[in-house]
Symmetry: C2
Subunit: 321 residues, 2 copies
Amino acid sequence: MDFLIGIDIGGTNVVCGLTDASGKLLHKIKQPTEALRGSDYVFDKIKCMVDELLALGGIQREAVRAIGVGTPGFIDPDKGITLFAGNLRWTQVPTAEEIRKRTGIPTYIDNDVRMYVYGEAVCGAAQGYEHVLGITIGTGLAAAVINQGKLYYGGGYMAGELGHIIMPEIPYTCGCGMRGCLETAVSATGIARQAQELVQSGRPSILREWLEAAPDKSITAADVSKAYDQHDSLAIEVMNHTGMLLGKGLANAVTLYSPDVIVIGGGAALAGERLFAPMREQLQQSVYHGYWERLTIVTAAMIDDAGIVGSAMAAGNRAIQ
Amino acid sequence: MDFLIGIDIGGTNVVCGLTDASGKLLHKIKQPTEALRGSDYVFDKIKCMVDELLALGGIQREAVRAIGVGTPGFIDPDKGITLFAGNLRWTQVPTAEEIRKRTGIPTYIDNDVRMYVYGEAVCGAAQGYEHVLGITIGTGLAAAVINQGKLYYGGGYMAGELGHIIMPEIPYTCGCGMRGCLETAVSATGIARQAQELVQSGRPSILREWLEAAPDKSITAADVSKAYDQHDSLAIEVMNHTGMLLGKGLANAVTLYSPDVIVIGGGAALAGERLFAPMREQLQQSVYHGYWERLTIVTAAMIDDAGIVGSAMAAGNRAIQ
């Protein structure tokens, strides 16, 4: 039988999963990344995790067709190099070769968001659609596109940076050096920041009471959701504004990519309808009706597992070619 | 030897060209479309034009591998149907089959702008680039994308509608039913309309003098270029504003598609640096520097012939498959 391994190297955790050839997740293990100890330390840890997965599955190394790895940042999937991953502090790391050397299994890498969206397209909520636009709303806002079943990379593998579309309504400076990038407002960080600013401006809100009760804490996106559910007008305004901005950004992406389906994942997607209702309203207003009528919008189905399953399945395909 | 025929069915003219297998244009003929006489009339005319091309080339019908046809509007290239072409007044016309029946040559159709951009990518100014974003600025604003040598269609073959990205700065209602579409300002029509409005608002301009000298005429984009060259401040303002808007629109497209090259064609592209200088300035400000640094911007090299050469070459490829 034919097995695959998918690995997601995040800023906080490394997650490794063993799947069958259809992407069914059989075993999953998680370890802290400890990226600051250097890439060799992380790769040695991954070697041990792969051995553990083989033991858990009761299978030989030879039964694993390929390892797929998703890492954040800019990736060269053809050369197998992590070009730059800010939150791992990795530059020009030959990730695929280092893992292949340690495990003896053919290894392929790609960007973690692309792998997440690929997982949702192959085994998750976007299954069965030819043209998929997937976004993840977490610390930042990222996107990936699948066109007729194939990932769309663009020049320099840099396509899909929805989070760095500039919006005139957004006043914040972005880590990328520009001002007004969509992800500075549409993200967990962005939601928290907007709420924080409105509270500081003196607006009444239950969030102020929570802050005063725990002055060493700062407002999170989850707090804003909680306040929203208590009909807090400030929290409602922040969610409406964020959803509206996301709708405008997605309108650009829909008009240019013409996806059949948009799949939305990531931690901040937990805000759910608080964010999605104003998003849909704005999106419908901002795209030609022909796009809207044929568009499906779904939330990610696999949540935590989309990345490792996507990595495993993408690597499986690349190993065959 | 192997020949191809490319046909561009426009609102005004039908242009047919005979090329060799490499896309070299050998003969070209042009006739008025007379679309109002109905699609059968146009197809009969095209049959005669194809016969004329065969005679001009001194070749047998059997030497032509395929005919490629570009038509405006929404196309189903797989089924060979022109779904809707407003300026031909065609709905659900089986263009490919009708031309194949009359000529006896395998026929493939596609959207005219995609074929124009494909021509520039295969034989023109964007030759040698893997990821091409092509735009045509004419009566409207249209775009097409080539990704790793292949046309990007998206769901419903509707990708690339750059002209229907909404900009908050644009107050005009668009033919598509939305308000603020980029092409309502960034097009020959849009440039003329902006100039006309400013003149009517009472602003001094040489354009007013020209209008008063020929009151039955209205301002054209070419007039605005001419006034610009005479240092007319109103014309300079219109070109700067239009170029700025185009730069903002392209920034979205670059961030989402990550092209290696942008190729710009269409009649209004004759405005040249008057439009491209402010466009480049805005684009550089509105995209992550990593995109800007690897981006090339060129003007179309084949002008009138890109569409027929692109149609011929695309059909040649499809006939092989």
